[in-house]
């Protein structure tokens, strides 16, 4: 369970997150909102790249904001980025192994854990191939494998389906939906693709101009008037 | 500790040296703000110009002022040429890469200078300006006109450049480009022309600095090429942004360097002055933040 309490982030004169208070219960949760609503900022706070002006985050009982950023990954915060960041000159195996070797887990289980994560994503490529030879959809799966290897506690997925064709998106949806049951982690998915969000997330929260405007079961939230107004604008 | 009177001549020479460092520093800062390039070849072009001026006046018998004009013209031309040739190719790269590229230019110039004006053979060259001979006395300290010019040039150019940047159209364009080159281009500012102006201006300042330093310090390719590091120190303390801070830092560096001369225990270390000041300045200033290049903040 993740409890966010009064989280506020300011860049110069802009307030990216405005006293956001929200609780993520379990499973895969969606986080949507128009561009500039503060979703990536929220992820940046959780990853430790941005310091909030005010507020607190408790993840599984631990005060997340007091941890140094690289320690959070060790603790179990995993993240994918809007522009995918798999390391090109390393192999698929090395990319995933790198996350494992910087976590709390030891070397004995490494090979098994890494191959398990790769299998989980359904990536059909030799783990020894260099990532630079892979296509966009495959690279996204490598990123997901990096996010689920070992014992993650919080998996943050930032627009993982961006730029992918439909069949790869539906495969990705399947994978994302199964993350909590496979790893025991809580997953938060940010995306603009509503069918993806509906397919994976039991609950969804909506941000607009840094404020939380709705949260609850996904189907209900997507029909909420306030949400539709936020996306389409007031007439 | 030597008596005060021993320090007096060094106050004057220190201020003069600081003046030239300030002049160089301002040139470096303005170019950086307009193009993102830290022009490490600044000393080398000044050295090249000074050596050409020397050859013209002592070997070809040309009058002094012709030599100076050629010096400034060559320095300006080489700098402008480099900017036009390599500026666009590297425009989108990291400031670090752009600066390292100017190291390439430095090496080329250095090789050319050593080839054409070899230092082996023990012949020491010197460049004297007619203003070395005249002067006046202030409180029993001798001051030559060259030293006055050096300090005055530093002051005038700092004030002048600041005014230029703030009040002229070209200056405002340069400040806009320092902020964001692409957006400035979309506003209809002739970006290429503004950049060319910045390169040319920096080159001209390099030529002037080269002449003054050749006179005040030594006419030697190595010395002059690497003397840019002292101006770099001032520019670093100003974080490549403020002209005023550059000026003050440059004066302090010049003064401190020369004032250490009469102190027997420290005099052989005085060449460390710019390095130490820059290092301390950088580390103190970076205490609270991780410093990134101002043009390329993530």
């Amino acid at each position: 369970m993740i409890e966010v309490d009064g989280l506020t982030v300011r860049y110069g004169g802009v307030t990216s997150l405005d006293a956001m208070s929200l609780t993520f219960e379990q499973g895969t949760c969606g986080l949507i909102g128009p561009n500039g609503a503060g979703k990536t900022t929220f992820f940046n706070v959780l990853s430790g790249f941005v310091r909030p002006a005010a507020g607190a985050v408790r993840a599984f009982g631990v005060d997340l904001l007091s941890m140094a950023h690289y320690r959070r990954a060790r603790w179990g915060v995993r993240r994918t980025f809007q522009t995918e960041q798999a390391i090109e000159e390393l192999s698929v195996f090395d990319n995933v192994a790198m996350v494992h070797e910087h976590s709390r887990l030891g070397g004995a289980s490494r090979r098994a854990d890494v191959l398990d994560a790769i299998t989980f994503t359904g990536l059909d490529a030799d783990p020894e191939t260099k990532v630079r030879t892979l296509g966009a959809g495959q690279r996204r799966l490598v990123e997901v494998a990096r996010a689920v290897v070992g014992r993650p506690r919080l998996v943050l997925l930032d627009e993982p389906a961006a730029g992918l064709p439909d069949e790869e998106t539906s495969h990705l949806a399947e994978v994302i939906r199964r993350i909590p049951e496979h790893t025991g982690a809580l997953a938060i998915l940010v995306d603009h693709d509503m069918s993806l969000v509906s397919a994976c997330c039991a609950t969804t929260a909506v941000l607009d101009f840094g404020k939380l405007i709705a949260s609850g079961p996904t189907a209900a939230v997507l029909r909420d008037d306030a949400v539709i107004r936020a996306y389409l604008g007031v007439a | 500790m030597p008596p005060w009177v021993d320090f007096e001549p060094f106050i004057v020479s220190g201020l003069a040296l600081g003046g030239v460092y300030a002049l160089s520093g301002v040139g470096l800062v303005v170019l950086y703000r307009a193009t993102g390039v830290l022009y490490l070849a600044f000393g080398a072009i000044g050295a090249l110009g000074a050596l050409i001026a020397w050859s013209l006046t002592t070997r070809a018998g040309a009058p002094g002022w012709a030599g100076w004009l050629v010096c400034v013209a060559v320095a300006g031309a080489v700098t402008l040429g480099y900017g036009l040739l390599f500026g666009p190719a590297l425009a989108r790269r990291d400031p670090l890469i752009k600066a390292v590229a100017t190291i390439g230019l430095t090496l080329i110039l250095y090789g050319v200078m050593d080839l054409l004006w070899t230092t082996s053979g023990g012949q020491a060259r010197s460049l004297t300006l007619p203003t070395d001979n005249g002067g006046f006395t202030v409180a029993q300290i001798q001051v030559t006109w060259t030293q006055v010019i050096a300090l005055a040039a530093g002051v005038v150019l700092t004030v002048g450049t600041g005014t230029f940047l703030r009040f002229t159209k070209l200056g405002t364009a340069m400040r806009a480009m320092a902020n964001d080159r692409d957006i400035t281009a979309t506003l209809g500012v002739p970006v290429r022309r503004v950049e060319a102006a910045a390169w040319l201006g920096c080159g001209i300042l390099g030529g002037i600095a080269g002449l003054l330093l050749a006179d005040l310090v030594a006419l030697d390719a190595t010395t002059l090429t690497f003397l840019v590091i002292s101006s770099l120190a001032a520019v670093l303390i100003a974080r490549l942004r403020s002209i005023t801070v550059t000026f003050v830092a440059a004066i302090v560096i010049g003064l401190l360097h020369d004032l250490l001369t009469p102190i027997a225990s420290l005099t052989s270390y005085r060449d460390m002055t710019p390095f130490v000041i820059a290092a301390i300045g950088l580390l103190v200033l970076s205490r609270h933040q991780v410093m990134t290049q101002s043009r390329e903040e993530a």
């Binding site: 990954a73 000159e89 | 090789g111 950088l282």
Partner: protein, 361 residues
């Protein structure tokens, strides 16, 4: 379970992370071994003393460019003061060689460690800076070290901490290892040390620090998100590079016997960076190419009576070329060009063999 992943699991043993080498890797390893054996055994027999001394210098400076390449290529740190670090290593080795009777390899290790500590002391505060500022502070610190060394001088057998006696009339030469006193033998010794240093770097690249460096170079946010302590790994690279350069300094001390501050001028740092960029910062062979550019070509030109200044100009042009077009340098570009040439020749030969009256000709 996907087919290829299952195949990987079945191929490998669960106990160790074994990767069967591929054919190109085997070819590369064999070529490397042959070249190294040639360099060690055959080269000293074939060359004159002048060139043997040159090749010793190549070995020394290949280690320096190896360290520089590590910093620039793997971690993105452009050190503008590597000559000063080399000077520290040479100073430490000379001091120990005069003051003690320790065996040479031990002195090299100690010189490397001393230089590493110096590198760490610099790196700890300096690594808070990034990019351009970090490069410039290495220039500033190197300048300071150069001035200090010019004043305190290199050890020449004197007493006291600095080991320098200004009044000595006959300065003793810095000793060499007893089994490698002659020039050809000392050349072989320097080659062995260089191989050890290269192996040390290879060991790093293939394991955890290498992966972390690759991640840091591509994207610091992604590295952070993977749990990598960026500052720690940058410091590690700094320490390793300083250690290797220090060892190189120690080998240099024995090579030239007498050390003066003019052996380590400021422009050397810049030229070293230039040749490192030209040789290529992403491959170990690039460091050797850089060493050859830096020491072998000047010696060659010197022998032919051509001024080495032409090389300085060439290096300047090389920097500009590398930065504007080929970021991976010669060591990457030349094999690629050779392969392309080989491919071109192959198709020409095949077309020729088919001859007139062949299919569709």
């Amino acid at each position: 379970m996907s087919g290829t992943v299952r195949a990987t699991l079945e191929r490998a043993s669960p106990a160790r992370i074994a990767r069967r080498p591929t054919r190109p890797q085997l070819i590369k390893a064999s070529v490397t071994t042959v070249l190294l054996l040639f360099a060690f055994f055959a080269l000293p027999e074939l060359l004159s003393l002048y060139y043997i001394d040159t090749m010793t210098q190549v070995a020394v400076y290949s280690m320096v460019t190896l360290a520089l390449g590590l910093l620039v290529g793997r971690v993105g740190l452009f050190s503008l003061g590597q000559a000063a670090v080399l000077a520290i290593g040479a100073w430490a080795a000379a001091r120990l060689l005069f003051a003690t009777t320790q065996p040479y390899p031990l002195v090299l290790l100690e010189a490397g460690l001393i230089t590493m500590v110096a590198g760490l002391l610099i790196g700890l505060p300096a690594l808070r800076l990034r990019g351009l500022y970090l490069a410039l502070i290495t220039l500033m610190l190197a300048g300071s070290i150069t001035v200090v060394l010019a004043t305190v001088n290199f050890p020449n057998g004197g007493h006291g901490f600095l080991g320098y006696n200004g009044g000595l009339l006959h300065i003793p030469p810095i000793r060499r290892p007893s089994i490698a006193a002659s020039d050809p033998a000392y050349y072989r010794f320097s080659v062995v040390i260089a191989i050890v240093m290269f192996a040390l770097v290879l060991a790093h690249i293939k394991t955890k620090p290498g992966r972390a460096w690759a991640a840091i170079r591509q994207s610091e946010p992604a590295a952070l998100a993977a749990g990598i302590n960026i500052w720690f790994y940058k410091l590690w690279a700094f320490a390793l590079a300083s250690f290797i350069t220090g060892v190189a300094g120690g080998v240099l001390a024995g090579a030239i016997h007498y050390l003066y501050s003019i052996n380590f001028p400021t422009q050397d740092s810049i030229t070293l960076l230039a040749v490192t960029l030209m040789g290529g910062v992403f491959s170990l062979w690039g460091a050797v190419v850089a060493g050859l550019l830096y020491q072998f070509l000047p010696a060659l030109l010197n022998n032919w009576g051509v001024s080495a200044d032409w090389l300085i100009i060439l290096f300047g042009l090389g920097v500009l070329q590398v930065l504007t077009t080929a970021p991976a340098g010669l060591a990457d570009q030349v094999p690629r060009d050779l392969r392309r040439l080989g491919h071109l020749l192959g198709t020409r030969i095949r077309r020729f063999r088919r001859g007139p009256g062949g299919d569709g000709a």
